[in-house]
């Protein structure tokens, strides 16, 4: 019998962990001599108070949904993929190569091709760590960390030596052709006769991210492969006994994970900058870890957590703009969320379990 009802496990513990992280963050803000309530108000106004704010919040949310799903899928196979950053970087390379390869006539054709490029490159970058984990037993956490650095070096080389247009000093690719321009949400709203979110980067990729959430949910809980991934994640010996190949599941789960991380590049590279720049990912791969932990590796949870981090990200930018609180506060909040929802999970869980047991005993008596 479970010690706690399911709702307490799924909703109550992450909420308490989040609350603890927020309290400590407030103390940090107090410690640097600023007012936490003012900070919160600035963040809410800046991120959610206008369609302009929402436009950026949802743009960041889109990035974090992809990287969060990437971490979540791997986690179901009990693989900890820290390589989302590198996979998204290399996914960006895939997008750039596709977009620059042809004079695309219309985004409707360019988008599927670029998605394939992004997912393939991201998945390929996850393949070697996956293979080494499955076949040689090399720890996936270490190899994916190493691959993040190798990806950064590779991208630096490619941008400086291969993709940089002649005469340009900037380590960035040429601009993508006009035909690869993705419709922004503001254009779509204008087509419906509404004015919404002018000059914001959120684009059609946001809807692709939502579809990805649904597809991941279907994959994990409604397909045979998803069952095998979960079974393998829960117990490798049991999965092997049931005839599930550990090598196959490890590789497939990591390919899907890498592909999802790579797909993020559709949003930031093709949707926003429309060229490949150095450090395009901006740490979104790492935020995916916090998002997946916070969302309990469930696609809906990932969506909500991505929204929360989108808010924090945009709100953090506004803080830096309007107050004297530096943007790096967001990294601290992110660290605290990872710490409390991930590593210190038992600190919240153990007293809660004791509480529920005590309540149940009283109920029985």
């Amino acid at each position: 019998m479970d010690k706690m009802p399911k709702w307490a496990d799924v909703i109550l513990t992450p909420l308490i962990s989040l609350l603890l992280a927020m309290i400590i963050s407030a103390l940090v803000i107090l410690a640097i001599g600023e007012s936490p309530t003012m900070a919160l108000k600035t963040m809410v106004d800046g991120a959610l108070g206008s369609s302009y704010g929402w436009g950026f919040t949802l743009y960041y949310t889109t990035n974090f949904i992809f990287t969060g799903l990437a971490v979540a899928v791997a986690y179901h196979a009990s693989l900890f993929n820290i390589g989302g950053e590198g996979q998204a970087m290399v996914g960006g390379l895939g997008v750039a190569l596709v977009c620059l390869a042809l004079p695309w006539p219309h985004w409707g054709i360019a988008l599927p091709a670029a998605m394939v490029g992004a997912a393939l490159f991201g998945a390929a970058w996850a393949l070697i760590p996956a293979y080494l984990q499955a076949k040689r037993g090399s720890h996936i956490v270490i190899t994916t960390i190493m691959f993040n650095f190798i990806a950064a070096a590779l991208l630096n080389y490619v941008l400086v030596n291969l993709l940089r247009p002649v005469g340009s000093m900037d380590p960035a690719s040429a601009r993508f052709p006009e035909g690869t321009h993705l419709p922004a949400l503001t254009d779509m709203a204008a087509a419906l006769g509404m004015e919404w979110g002018r000059n914001t980067p959120v684009n059609i990729t946001f809807f692709i991210a939502i579809v990805a959430c649904v597809l991941v949910w279907l994959l994990i809980w409604r397909t045979r492969l998803g069952y095998e991934i979960r079974a393998f994640g829960r117990s490798e010996p049991a999965a092997m006994y049931a005839g599930i190949s550990p090598v196959r599941i490890t590789v497939i789960a990591m390919l899907i994970s890498g592909g999802l991380a790579g797909l993020m590049a559709i949003n930031n590279v093709m949707g926003e900058s429309e060229r490949l720049v150095l450090n395009a990912v901006e740490g979104a791969g790492f935020i995916g870890i916090a998002v997946a932990l916070m969302g309990r590796n469930h696609p809906f949870g990932v969506f909500l957590a991505a929204l929360l981090f989108g808010f924090l990200y945009q709100g953090g930018g506004e803080l830096a703009l309007w107050t004297s609180i530096p943007r790096e506060l967001i990294i601290v909040i992110q660290a605290l969320v990872i710490l409390f929802t991930g590593a210190l999970d038992n600190m919240v869980r153990m007293p809660l379990e004791r509480l529920f047991l005590a309540m149940r005993k009283r109920g029985d008596a």
Partner: protein
């Protein structure tokens, strides 16, 4: 390339390997006791910041060093609390520590000094000065051995010599003392140590505290020895290179010395020759920078001598069920 250039490159390699060596030994203690530590980077960064800040305010590099150790130790304790006391995931805790350091150092740096995350440049007293070993000047003109002694061996800060001395010391502690035997046992089979009546928790906390001290030394060296002050993200992945070196060295102290020297040398060569011309091919600096990571992946893959981590690494110890 003449003899003087080789000496210069080796000298630079020694400087660059020192933080790697200290962090690598920190990871060695922690991981030998069964606690994975991917938070080396964060601890070094925090130590670099606290040491540079205190060294600037007090004008004393030694007080800075103490502050560096304290800053690193604080993060070590968080890691211990999460991964030993509350039996959380050690990897996730390490990730959190890296972000915590990355955010806090800049946040505090901007608030205290208002220089966009830097600390003011340290002047003489705030830095560790170069130590000139006895007779270094007198022997300078001796052919071959003279430059090696006076340029390569002499003329580093005290922390460099400390780091090198820590290698045999670590070997002795790990393989010749009772504490070391227990530390290794707790990383392989904590239940056996527990059965013998020794506290697993206490041993692991001791190991993590040692890691905190060593990362503190590494960070203090970065900020007050190698450069003159703290700069945002100044560790620049060195914690992860140290982790790579640890795997490369297969969790052994003497091998750690050679692994970190190799990685330091790679960095020194990449700094000196941004585009290394080998006649047939030109090696870009990006490749040299990525080489430690690539080599580690190859070692991890087990194609060139297999790297087997301590068996109980990464698993929290549950005393009773």
């Amino acid at each position: 390339m003449d003899f003087a250039t080789i000496i210069q490159i080796l000298d630079s390699a020694v400087r660059l390997m020192t933080p790697l060596l200290l962090a690598c030994l920190a990871g060695l203690y922690s991981e030998r006791s069964g606690v994975f530590d991917i938070g080396l980077e964060g601890k070094m960064l925090m130590a670099a910041f606290t040491s540079a800040s205190v060294a600037f305010v007090t004008g004393s590099a030694w007080l800075g060093l103490l502050a560096g150790i304290a800053g690193s130790m604080a993060l070590s304790l968080i890691h211990g609390l999460a991964s030993i006391t509350f039996r959380g995931n050690q990897l996730i805790s390490g990730v959190a520590i890296n972000f915590l350091a990355s955010g806090m150092t800049v946040l505090l740096g901007i608030k205290i000094f208002g220089l966009g995350g830097r600390t003011p440049a340290l002047t003489d007293g705030g830095r560790f000065n170069e130590v000139t070993l006895p007779f270094a000047d007198a022997l300078r003109d001796v052919p071959f051995l003279g430059p090696i002694y006076s340029e390569l061996i002499s003329g580093h800060t005290i922390l460099v010599y400390v780091a090198f001395a820590l290698v045999p010391l670590t070997w002795w502690v790990l393989f010749r003392t009772r504490f070391g035997l227990r530390l290794r046992a707790v990383g392989e089979n904590p239940a056996s140590v527990d059965t013998a009546g020794v506290s697993v928790t206490r041993l692991r906390f001791a190991a993590i505290a040692l890691a905190g001290i060593l990362c503190g030394l590494a960070g203090a060296y970065l900020a007050t020895g190698l450069s003159a002050g703290f700069v945002k993200e100044m560790t620049a992945g060195r914690g992860f290179i140290a982790l790579a070196a640890l795997i490369f060295a297969k969790w052994r102290p003497w091998s750690a010395l050679f692994a970190t020297f190799l990685f330091g040398l790679l960095e020194a060569i990449a700094n000196r020759y941004p585009n290394l011309d080998l006649g047939i091919v030109t090696v870009p600096s990006m490749f040299m920078n990525a080489l430690p990571y690539i080599l580690t992946v190859i070692i991890l893959a087990g194609f060139v001598g297999r790297a087997i981590p301590p068996r109980a690494g990464g698993e929290p110890y549950v005393k009773e069920r």
